[in-house]
Symmetry: C2
Amino acid sequence: MDEYTPQALREHIRSGQHQGNTSGYSPGYVQCNIVILPETWATDFLQFCLRNPKPCPLVAVGQPGDPALEALGDIDIRTDVPRYRIYRDGELTEERTDITELWQDDLVTFALGCSFSFEEALMADGLEVRNVAEGVNVPMYRTNIACEPSGPFVGNMVVSMRPYVPADAIRAIQVCTRFPSVHGAPIHLGDPAQIGIEYLASPDFGDPVTIRPNEIPVFWACGVTPQVALEQARPPFCITHSPGCMLVTDLPNSRLAIL
Amino acid sequence: MDEYTPQALREHIRSGQHQGNTSGYSPGYVQCNIVILPETWATDFLQFCLRNPKPCPLVAVGQPGDPALEALGDIDIRTDVPRYRIYRDGELTEERTDITELWQDDLVTFALGCSFSFEEALMADGLEVRNVAEGVNVPMYRTNIACEPSGPFVGNMVVSMRPYVPADAIRAIQVCTRFPSVHGAPIHLGDPAQIGIEYLASPDFGDPVTIRPNEIPVFWACGVTPQVALEQARPPFCITHSPGCMLVTDLPNSRLAIL
């Protein structure tokens, strides 16, 4: 897979040459989930993130109307995500590769941490990440764990799952504890029914992965959680990245490590 | 329960007024497992500890023939443990409350970390420690996990077990990770059979504890491991503390935290 610097990759994205997934590109750099909302909805959403930091870890928030995110690099959020989803009254109405024409003076950009960063840390530590090893999207599940609501933003937590033998699960907890702004430590392990998951073989999002004998499922809070809350809230206008097509930043993953 | 400073408690122990368990005394201070061996056996035992740091975490080692452990306080190891066990050719031959008469010029003292320190950290974080809550000794089990051998010192790891719901197990891993010199993070969780444990209700040492619905057993490397290795090695002469009757040191538990 081609590897670019974040700047070079964003240049390709900005010019329309790269319109697909960003997984595996610019290894070592933070990639972000993106949510863009009108300012009148942004305060409640900000509170929702702050109240639910494990599924909605804030990496950066833009100024109203400002498409820049200076803390993350020389970014124009209107052009620097490969593919956007446009929601009107809570319904997905279209996908675009550029939102310059849709930009408004009151739009606020939220950049949220993404599991790519901790998956990289796990692999750097010698732990397999099953969805990466099997070349599929990580399996994700709706749980019965209610998020702390904020105004119209409500919903249950969505989790991603990676299987490990217990000793590796313990090591994965240690590795991910260092990265609270990319979902941090797992929120559950073992019996899926305890968090309201019936069938591991049938994820609500993504693809199933193999679980081998002696492995247990380990569950992380997932960045799909805010998307579910957005579906519930049905804001009149909202833009997100398209799944897998993230904002690639200049921030090294190591800078997110708390120790 | 009476609480003493470590110095005051050791004074009571030294004078023979306190001859029993030290659990709960001098909270906040490190208590140690003690092994005393002739110098000719000490090198292999030192290597055994260094090769198996999770069950045998070295806190301090004395000089041959020197009963002091200056790093741990104003200690005379011949008098400052409430109760000692004397082994000859690998057999327990007697218990004493003072080993002054048995001291030899070639004896080397090993002070090893003990689970009391991490249990205190767990409780300070709001996690229940079931054996403490139920007022019994922690359940301990022989596993099928072989220690790295060193000379005559061989054997399988012994583990202690505390049950937690999964979210608390994850938190316990985080808390204990900070304290590698008192056994550190757990070595296993969930299915006991994976590490060769058949019946949780029948521990090999200590007492069984209640495991509630939705709880999983969490297993820590245990300081009984070196005692099992000593049984295998059968040194001609060896002194240990009597179970539960530890060396109480001046070292605050917090000083063992790596972060």
